[in-house]
């Protein structure tokens, strides 16, 4: 009788211990697991009601960069990402102003916009994209690489930040995005879906 009680007691403790252990392990695994999507958002975006289309205009841009940008636009537009881009050469108030110049050595391209009201929307629904045509920078890239950089900048215009957490995504900083196949990736597109 006594032996049975001890046995029952042990098995109950074992069940409880196993349950606690499983729960603890699950908690730890959940906390350290890499999320399926790793896109990183900048926190500022276009007004979701004004992305069909997102109009852009070239301001004194060299032909090489015009072609790169138009191709990049076509690539994004062919995806399922919300919104689309459209060139409007006569627009007085485009959503993207595109320029290129020699800004010296230091970077390939910049996308910038302002958010004065802290409403997480680009002021005037507008961003500026600058390509640095310096011979050490974008000036040294191939036509394909220029296009990928332009795609990357359009990702920033949508509201993506840099994403160095994953190996092969369009929003990765630097050279890797030139060598790993079709861009933007599903993760880049999922990011835009999440933004809008």
């Amino acid at each position: 009788m006594k032996f049975r009680r001890i046995k029952e007691s042990i098995s109950l403790r074992a069940v409880v211990a196993a349950g606690v252990s499983a729960l603890l392990t699950l908690t730890i695994l959940t906390s350290i697991a890499t999320p399926a999507s790793a896109y990183v958002l900048s926190g500022v975006r276009y007004d979701p009601n004004s992305i069909n289309p997102i109009e852009y205009k070239f301001y004194s841009v060299d032909l090489l960069y015009i072609l790169a940008f138009r191709n990049a636009e076509a690539v994004w537009d062919a995806t399922s990402a919300p919104g689309y881009f459209s060139e409007k050469s006569l627009s007085l108030d485009p959503e993207i102003e595109v320029r290129n110049a020699d800004f010296g050595t230091g970077f390939w391209a910049i996308t910038e916009g302002t958010d004065t009201n802290r409403d997480r929307l680009w002021d005037g629904n507008e961003v500026r994209i600058y390509f640095n045509s310096n011979a050490n920078e974008m000036g040294s890239l191939t036509a394909y690489q220029k296009m990928v950089v332009a795609e990357h900048e359009l990702g920033h215009a949508y509201g993506h930040a840099e994403n160095n957490n994953q190996g092969c995504v369009l929003m990765r900083q630097g050279w890797d995005k030139f060598t790993c196949g079709t861009m933007p990736t599903a993760d880049d597109i999922a990011g835009v879906d999440a933004i809008y």
Partner: protein
């Protein structure tokens, strides 16, 4: 009677404080300042050797401070710039004065001017300011004729290679890269822990590339 003498002033003081606080919070704050968000794409150099090969000059130096700012291609206001629609709009730039303590590649003066993106004007994750008193290892490109014609203040200056990628903080006999993600894999939570290298070994690597 004594109690009343104490209580009334206390109550009065409390009311006064309350009044001041009410007025203080009722006054509207200053106009919100435009926050510029700047995203920069650049070549990421993932080793000291690679950074050295791309640089004209590599120095260890002490940051003396900021000696100038520029916006809109050298002008300080839109009026001064006289910006027309088709002109290139300049980027907000800052100039730092650096006292060179050791030149590891190239030739420099004892004091040099280094240009960078002005983080006081925008939020940019890939650039941190150089602060007075900091000891830094800098990978630099010399500005050549015709580069960035919009910049006016300093004809002879240096650019930092790939923003923070070209900056290492010197701490005693060690160095830490500011752009850690160029050198290490991400942690499980997506953050990056800056590695620490031995300064002497890094200097030897730099000089071996020369």
């Amino acid at each position: 009677m004594k109690k009343k003498r104490i209580i009334y002033p206390v109550i009065a003081a409390m009311f006064a404080s309350l009044l001041v606080m009410t007025v203080w919070f009722a006054i509207p704050s200053d106009e919100p300042r435009a926050i510029t968000f700047t995203n920069v794409d650049f070549y990421v150099h993932s080793s000291v050797e690679e950074l050295t090969a791309f640089s004209d000059t590599v120095v260890i130096g002490s940051v003396k401070g900021v000696v100038g700012h520029e916006i809109n291609n050298g002008a300080n206001t839109d009026e001064e710039y006289g910006a027309s629609e088709n002109q290139i709009q300049g980027l907000a730039m800052v100039y730092y004065e650096i006292d060179v303590t050791k030149t590891l590649k190239g030739k420099t003066e004892e004091t040099i001017i280094v240009a960078g993106l002005d983080t006081g004007q925008s939020i940019c994750d890939q650039v941190t300011p150089l602060l007075a008193g900091e000891e830094v290892l800098l990978f630099l490109k010399e500005r050549t004729e015709g580069e960035a014609p919009g910049l006016k203040q300093y004809e002879h200056c240096y650019w930092i290679v790939s923003l923070d990628n070209g900056v290492f903080d010197v701490l005693d006999d060690t160095v830490q890269p500011r752009y850690a993600q160029a050198f290490v894999e991400p942690n499980a939570d997506g953050t990056f822990t800056a590695p620490t290298y031995n300064l002497t070994e890094v200097c030897e690597k730099i000089q071996s590339v020369n």
